[in-house]
Symmetry: C3
Subunit: 396 residues, 3 copies
């Protein structure tokens, strides 16, 4: 057994976290031990996969994906994660289904779960909706399992909702943890989660919300910065404040990208829509008010256009710690002169950190797999150890 794997297995056992039978919806609902357990499992899976050892802890079983918004990387991350564990993905494509015919969430949740072990949901378009929908699904599964409809209780994994994007923020966290050499090294580090200009509109708020709520738990100094009017959901601001207090870190909000970048060890410049706009958009989408949506888009793009200086360029990067701060992005970034005329980040800065952002994204399949493993196994460490010592090869 390699030393690294051994250490992670011991850490996992020592944490004694119990997520069995639960879901992974919001990081702030989880204890530190639970988060650490998921992160340890993710690193175990990544390390064992690299050693060409199979991790198919399910011999058969379905994983249902439900994407209520477009997705490439999350779709592939989920598919990769499920395949790694031995599950087959079946997409719940609501366009092709009878859901439009007035079926209740409660019923559908059970109908798709008779042989299902995990359900991944992305629902990030409507303020006040995504997380609520996931909880509704989870409650329906609880009921179905308790009543004997289902042989097993599938784990629900949040692949992005209106509040949080835990598979993203946990991947970000693993990347910076390994970059700086351990969770302890994150203490006192400054991370600037800032808005950035983009010529598109309607980008979800869950990435910045997820980042400020997670990073504040690890003793980091989190500075959130955005132009006036681009507030996040108040409840996530409250979570970030409380977490910072508890962990001995700090949480500050400003309206200056430069002040946020100043001495930052890490910068995360990324566009999002103003909360108020997302609320109006939710109402318009629900009413199917297409002219209203067009009007809102125009208005919002005009508002964005007042802040084209919120670009992560070389000058701003110089403000960061020793001029060598680490750049993060959830991808795809709006890169000036590459993917758009003017965007979130200059081509030069992005190119410098490009491979880093790819590696950051590379944790996601393993984070998703870890969430599923943690929520479906009573003793994930034991299961992983059994597979690791099986002597089998994943690829002949």
């Amino acid at each position: 057994m390699s030393a690294e794997i051994k250490i992670l297995l011991n850490e996992l056992k020592t944490l004694n976290a119990d997520l069995y039978g639960k879901d992974f919806l919001l990081t702030w609902e989880k204890s530190d031990a639970e988060l650490r357990a998921v992160l340890a499992i993710a690193e175990l899976l990544k390390g064992i996969h690299a050693k060409n050892i199979p991790l198919d802890m399910f011999k058969t079983g379905l994983a249902v994906s439900n994407f209520r918004d477009n997705s490439t990387r999350t779709r592939f991350s989920f598919a990769s994660a499920c395949n790694l564990l031995g599950l087959a993905v079946q997409d719940l494509d609501e366009g092709k289904s009878q859901i439009a015919h007035g079926e209740t969430v409660r019923e559908t949740a059970n109908m798709i779960s008779f042989l299902t072990e995990a359900i991944g949901i992305r629902d990030d378009m409507f303020i006040g909706k995504g997380h609520t929908y996931m909880k509704e699904v989870a409650e329906a599964l609880d009921d179905g399992f308790k009543q004997g409809v289902l042989n097993q209780r599938p784990a629900v994994v949040n692949l992005q909702c209106d509040l949080d994007h835990p598979t993203q923020s946990m991947s970000d966290l693993l990347f910076i943890k390994n970059h700086f050499g351990g969770f302890d090294m994150l203490k006192g580090k400054k991370i600037a989660m800032t808005w950035a200009y983009s010529p598109s509109y309607g980008k979800p708020l869950s990435v910045p919300q997820g980042v400020i709520c997670l990073m504040t738990r690890f003793g980091m100094n989190v500075e959130l910065a955005y132009p006036e009017g681009y507030d996040l959901l108040p409840e996530t601001i409250e979570v970030a404040k409380k977490n910072a207090q508890d962990s001995g870190g700090s949480f500050n909000v400003s309206n200056s990208m430069k002040s946020a970048f100043k001495n930052a060890d890490i910068v995360y410049p990324k566009s999002w829509a103003p909360y108020k706009v997302m609320e109006r958009r939710t109402a318009l989408l629900e009413d199917g008010d297409h002219p209203g949506l067009k009007e809102l888009e125009k208005e919002c793009l005009a508002q964005n256009a007042r802040h084209t200086d919120w670009e992560c360029d070389e000058a701003k990067m110089k403000l960061s710690k020793d001029g060598r701060g680490l750049y993060l992005h959830c991808l795809p970034a709006d890169i000036t002169d590459v993917s758009c005329k003017q965007g979130e980040v200059s081509a030069k800065v992005f190119e410098k950190y490009r491979i880093g952002t790819y590696k950051e994204a590379g944790y996601k399949p393993f984070v998703i797999a870890a969430m599923i493993a943690a929520c479906t196994k009573k003793h994930p460490a034991k299961v992983i150890e059994t597979l690791y010592t099986s002597g089998l090869k994943r690829v002949l």
Copy 2:
């Protein structure tokens, strides 16, 4: 070996049914022993799955799904069934394929089958088409296999056609068999298969047709009731009559929901379109006559609206045997005040039986898997016994 599993395995061996190399298209083409064998296999698979033992009797192989109508539950049931047996589902999405380019059924059937073990087809929109199409596919596969084009003959499973919906009716049957304590207990029981009001139109006839043709084989007293004009296909009526005669049950048709419910042990109130309307619809769809279809829909909804009293409410349920008859539905039901203003069943009645209908649906993945297993294995009992006694775990 658990007693229950042992009994089922013995029953399966004793039945000595041989479906190997055949398809499962219509229940009335199958002998009693063949039906019983499929039902026994379904219960074996369900029981063994609950014991966490893998049932992957295929190590690799494709299962093709071909849904010519929208579907959630049948799509997931098919995917679950195939995954349970070890097959990977590949959807034949005719929109994305070259089928539109003038390809023959004969050719496509072979092209998708080089490594395919099962093909599930749903084609229920056109009177006179669905079953015919399935037979065409089956004949093409026979030819391809005989001529050496295919290494194996995939089994075709009817996931709903214009005549029958065997995976549904067999699931219904297993549910009531277990509810009442055995097939023998079904003898002499009254089941009311009745039309019910729905604000939608064009619902297929295959559910009621499948139910009257299957339940009459088990000595049940089947009463079919619908408002004038909502006849089923004459050939299925003939099958039901003959079956009732052979099994010592009875088959009656009336135009009164109340008379059907009277003393019924089981009620199955469910909307369908009148046969004549479906015939006209078939012609209009073939002609692509959209104004004609709109007109027909209006006419049909108006016809439906004359029968809003065909609702399964508490008053009608009181007419059933001891006021405690069992309510069945293939789901999704049109529930008054839940999924529509006025529908097939009152919210109170549905809620009382809701979990039951979920369990009823829960048999479907195993029924589909059983059909595939029965049609692709020379000795299904032996295969299942081998897997059951393997000592392996499905989920670590």
Copy 3:
């Protein structure tokens, strides 16, 4: 071990070809030994599959399919191939993804590959684009693998581009090799790759290009024939000329279907669009010029219509070697009076060779699987031998 399998395994070992870590994009980039190795692996996989032995050399892993044009048979062939080897297919549906949002090929290639072992791409609509795109993907994967973003380098397989259609031509080759009794028997055989009339337009050029470039390597006398204006890409003509010279075969171009058929051992009559039209179409598609495309289609169909006599009928087949030449087609064929009023081939000729064309197509899943196996295994012969002698059954 069966004699046939033993011979193929020995041949494969003796060839000593090394495709490990490479892609399969164009046959003319591969050495004779490399082509022979892929063909030997394809026959090994086909033979072992027929013996009901599992070939899942991957226990888990994704295979990504990216179809930028409609497809049935190639989609199913790819899915079958991947499933045979143990890989799960995940479709990169660009409509559902964020690719439209200005993402670079470089990034997407990495994002979909964290746990991916093979990527199959079909991109045949735009002259000068498909092969270029595949190379771009391959370079991005090289970079990602080198930089530690990816644990493994997925193999890219060309499922049809603007230049070549190697999975088709290699299947054609295996079919005729077995028909005539070995590669040696192909020497000196005449194959007529001819244009044929079709009432559709815009058919890709990759099939004829692939065929003339591959068959000229095996000492065959290849005659390409088409009406004036239906030229192929000049670079592929150059490849065919050079190959013929090197192999001791010949390559001729004419404008007469009859002269091409004369004494031909094999005929391959198949429609394609004129190169110049495809070039104009590429420009119009890129500009989104729909009226221009309509106009071009009209013009092109009118041009086609001047050559309805380019049909493979019984009279022309009589010209072939002893009147018994072998008919090939990549399918679906435009069959006169079957799939269209007038097409590439008469119903009588097609019916005579129909089963043959199905068998021709039946090699494709195994050719694709062989390409993946060859490009992902250091010692494919050893892996196949291990699986072959495992004593396991693919289907219980």
